[in-house]
């Protein structure tokens, strides 16, 4: 309830100051490499058709108990599934962009929150693969990966989770969600309001879903709980196959083709096709509901000249939303996502480096917190805001007052 009030307040605060995004960005957070193709396809294609950028964050390796091993022609099963997802993203980008197709992208390693993560970029699509162990339907995991799972990490039954090929270890649930948060901030570009797509956590709407689907959604939604400029759309997963068809003819065709490309990654490595009835039953429909509309604006872009955090004073920005643009004689507010309880010191310096404002705020929880600083500025110009939490987490942002 408190959060709801906060959202309403924020929408008033920021309604006059929302900048139009240069490119809309949406994030699809899923457990498996083929989840978005089966359950979110129409939304993804619509975003791409609107020249938006879609970032896929796939948390598990979907290895089905094979770890980083293979049971076919020497190619690990999880890698074939990853390539399928990359192929599907390329196909979706190609049919929506109209641009001359480019070659299939090659993998790069992105260091996000101190973790090595495999990344592919093609057109307006980005794929991140965290390769965490497949937890199986019930979340009990598989022997080859020590019966570890997202569910067990979230519930505290295990203290860490290591990717199947040992490239990264997440030492806590927060470590994982902070990593997702960092990916979102890294990829948002200049977009001030973005959307996250995950499986629905409402058991009444999305019953009997796969454990990994649910806990991937938990991770995604936990990551943005305080980032109110990230809207959340929840999708129904397995249960859609018993629901009426609702896709247009074109969307249905797209779903068939894009899922087929996902399967191509598998069959080209001599695994059996899953393009069969039990999977195809999910193709003619997508069901989703908006759980949370985006409110307020993202913090200043962490790219370009506005980024004063290049010295990595804080790994994860505390400011998740701030009034933008700022006007003279208008209220200025920000929402922060603190790392810990304690005392936050907020100071604003003018262009000459002189402090013109200082505010001490007591932080009594790690929940997102709205801080209203009032009508701070009487003169247009460039200023610097510094937040210091408990004297050890320091973050600086440049502010332009119009």
């Amino acid at each position: 309830m408190a959060k709801r009030l906060l959202f309403i307040v924020c929408s008033f605060l920021f309604s006059s100051g929302t900048l139009k995004a240069q490119q809309d960005v949406s994030y699809s957070i899923q457990a498996h490499e083929d989840d978005w193709q089966l359950f979110m396809n129409s939304k993804i294609v619509a975003d791409l058709n609107a020249t938006g950028k879609v970032v896929f964050i796939t948390l598990t390796a979907g290895d089905a108990g094979n770890g980083d091993g293979a049971y076919s022609a020497g190619n690990p099963f999880y890698l074939s599934r990853e390539m399928g997802s990359v192929y599907a993203a390329k196909f979706a980008a190609d049919i929506t962009s109209g641009a001359t197709p480019a070659p299939v992208p090659t993998a790069t390693i992105a260091v996000i929150n101190g973790h090595n993560i495999t990344k592919y970029v093609y057109g307006n699509t980005v794929n991140y693969f965290l390769r965490l162990p497949d937890g199986d339907f019930d979340g009990n995991g598989f022997p080859i990966t020590g019966h570890k799972s997202l569910q067990k990490l979230k519930l505290g039954q295990i203290t860490s989770l290591t990717s199947v090929e040992n490239s990264a270890t997440y030492t806590s649930w927060t470590d994982l969600t902070n990593t997702i948060k960092q990916i979102i901030l890294t990829e948002k570009g200049t977009d001030n309001q973005v959307w996250m797509y995950t499986a629905s956590l409402d058991n009444n709407v999305n019953p009997d879903d796969h454990s990994d689907h649910l806990y991937a959604a938990h991770a995604g939604q936990d990551a943005v709980s305080a980032m109110l400029w990230v809207g959340i759309t929840e999708f129904i997963d397995y249960a859609t196959s018993s629901m009426p068809d609702n896709l247009s003819v074109t969307d249905h065709e797209n779903a068939a083709a894009i899922f087929n490309l996902s399967e191509w990654g598998i069959i080209e490595k001599q695994y059996a096709s899953s393009y069969i009835e039990n999977h195809k039953a999910w193709l003619p429909m997508d069901y989703f509901t908006v759980k949370r509309n985006p409110v307020g604006n993202a913090p200043f872009s962490i790219i370009g000249e506005e980024n004063l955090s290049s010295n990595n004073l804080t790994a994860i920005p505390m400011i998740v939303s701030i009034t933008s643009p700022v006007f003279t004689n208008k209220d200025v507010s920000m929402i922060i996502s603190p790392y810990e309880k304690g005392e936050l010191s907020t100071t604003i310096y003018n262009n000459e480096g002189k402090s013109i404002f200082n505010l001490i705020t007591t932080i009594d929880s790690k929940e997102g917190k709205l801080i209203n600083m009032g009508k701070l500025f009487t003169t247009k110009g460039r200023y610097v805001l510094t937040n210091t939490l408990n004297g050890k987490y320091i973050e600086r942002r440049k502010i332009t007052v119009e």
Binding site: H252, E263, Q270, Y271, S273, E277
Partner: protein, 487 residues
């Protein structure tokens, strides 16, 4: 109906050993993406039931680019399209026939096969036993364009012009083969024979030639179908299904969700090959409109069986003898092979009879050696069934220009006539004399440059006692002495 007929045939041939055979079906089309758009449900269904599908694509679908490329692609357009057809073949086989779960086969590589003396490109995917197997043949003939006018890059050649006699031959865009219309239809039939395995009845699937049922179709569609239907027309054991091609998008949707999805997936895999090589995605509003319908009509149900599938019939000269060899991929109710020989290519006589296997689903090899050969020898096989029906093979011609003159045979013992068979037709006059054991010449004849290899001399009124004689023959500068016995 076809199945009932098939069962009846099996009952009638009670002696035939029961053995499961994959149902074979053939699909002949112009372009690499025709079957995905117009016949995918049928193909998937055939594979689902453990059948074997053979796709024969006649044109390169090059759209006037010949062996070239565009859009900065590193791959020739027609090759990207061929690979697309191979990709979609694997896709459809994998989702239709899942007996190999949890594995699938590797993407096949191109093979070069000689069929009907043509060097063809073949891709074979799947279980070699035939269940779920899908085979592609690409003849790479020039794209004729919608109206059959052809394109400058390929000298404006087209299937339509070949059929109509406007051009006498058509050459594949890679220059590998040149066909007359008859050679083209014979090649299609040879492919069918080589791939039918043990199936006694099967269907050819192709575009409809009925302009009311399938109006306004692409010229290459029409003439590919014409070639295929002419190829199988005499073989009543081959049924014909005619599909609506381009016009199907104007007809009501009739595919289920699952079948539409299969068609979309098959075409998507085809398009995937194109976009891998920088070609535009063909997944557009025009092609999408064909995902939702599939219409075909049975033009001819199969009747009877194709008695013997002759894979090949060849001859070679070995040690002054002709070695004839042939093999069959399948035999049903077969009785014997009658080898027929002619020296003039017109009149054939029975040379020898070889018993047939009767029933066989595996490859059988046969051979026969002919020692009595001439300069030019014509051979053909008559394949005779137990019910008296027969079929003749192609003709094998063996020329023996390198053959040295010699005496092949002489009547021995003789009574009042001596027949002498030469290896070659003598090029000069022949002197023949018969000498008794006392050295006395009892007969002398001269024959002026005979017209055949067989020379006969009558002893006539000459009274010869029963004894041993020496026949002296002077021919082409050689002297032959042969001991003969008078009966």
């Amino acid at each position: 109906m076809k199945r009932i007929l098939f069962v009846l045939i099996l009952i009638c041939t009670a002696a035939i050993k029961a053995q499961a055979q994959p149902q074979v079906s053939f699909f002949v089309q112009a372009d690499e993406d025709d079957w995905q758009l117009f016949m995918c449900k049928k193909i998937s269904g055939d594979l689902f039931t453990g059948g074997k599908v053979i796709l024969i694509t006649l044109t390169a679908g090059d759209e006037g680019y010949g062996t070239g490329s565009f859009n900065g692609s590193p791959t020739a357009y027609y090759l990207a399209k061929e690979r697309g057809a191979v990709f979609s073949s694997k896709t459809v086989s994998d989702f239709s026939y899942t007996a190999n779960y949890p594995f699938s086969y590797a993407i096949p590589v191109a093979q070069n096969v000689i069929i009907n003396s043509k060097n063809l490109v073949k891709y074979d995917y799947g279980d070699p036993s035939g269940a779920g197997e899908i085979v592609n043949y690409f003849l790479r003939l020039p794209d004729g364009g919608f109206n059959g006018a052809g394109f400058p890059a390929t000298s404006n050649q087209s299937l339509m012009k070949l059929k109509q006699g406007i051009i006498s031959t058509i050459t594949s865009i890679d220059g590998a083969n040149t066909y007359t219309w008859n050679e083209l239809t014979n090649t299609i039939f040879a492919i069918i024979l080589s791939e039918r395995a043990g199936d006694p009845q099967f269907y050819l699937n192709t575009s409809s030639l009925d302009n009311i049922y399938n109006p306004g179709d692409h010229s290459d569609h029409i003439y590919s179908s014409t070639a295929a239907q002419e190829a199988v027309m005499p073989q009543l054991a081959i049924g014909i299904n005619e599909f609506v091609f381009d016009y199907s998008s104007s007809k009501p949707d009739n595919l289920s969700n699952g079948d539409m999805e299969n068609s979309a997936a098959a075409f998507c895999s085809y398009g995937w090959s194109l976009i891998l090589d920088k070609y535009p995605s063909p997944f557009n509003s025009t092609t999408r409109a064909w995902f939702h319908q599939e219409y075909f009509a049975v033009k001819r149900s199969p009747v009877g069986v194709v008695p013997i599938t002759l894979l090949d019939f060849t001859g070679s000269l070995q040690n002054k003898k002709v070695l004839l060899q042939w093999s069959t991929s399948a035999e049903y109710n077969s009785k014997q092979f009658e080898i027929e020989k002619s020296l003039d290519g017109i009149t054939y006589n029975l040379l020898h009879t070889v018993p047939a296997a009767g029933y066989s689903t595996s490859e059988k090899k046969y051979s026969y050696q002919d020692a009595d050969i001439a300069d030019i020898n014509y051979y053909r096989l008559k394949m005779v069934d137990n019910d008296g029906k027969f079929k003749q093979s192609n003709v094998v011609v063996i020329k023996t220009n390198e053959l040295q003159q010699s005496i092949i045979s002489v009547t021995n013992p003789f009574s009042n006539k001596i027949s002498i068979r030469f290896a070659k037709i003598p090029q000069s006059e022949i002197t023949l004399s018969l000498v008794d054991m006392n050295g006395k010449q009892v007969l002398n004849k001269m024959i002026n440059k005979p017209s055949t290899r067989l020379v006969e001399i009558e002893t006539g009124n000459t009274i010869l006692s029963k004894a041993i004689y020496i026949l002296r023959i002077e021919c082409d500068g050689k002297l032959y002495n042969i001991k003969l016995v008078k009966e």
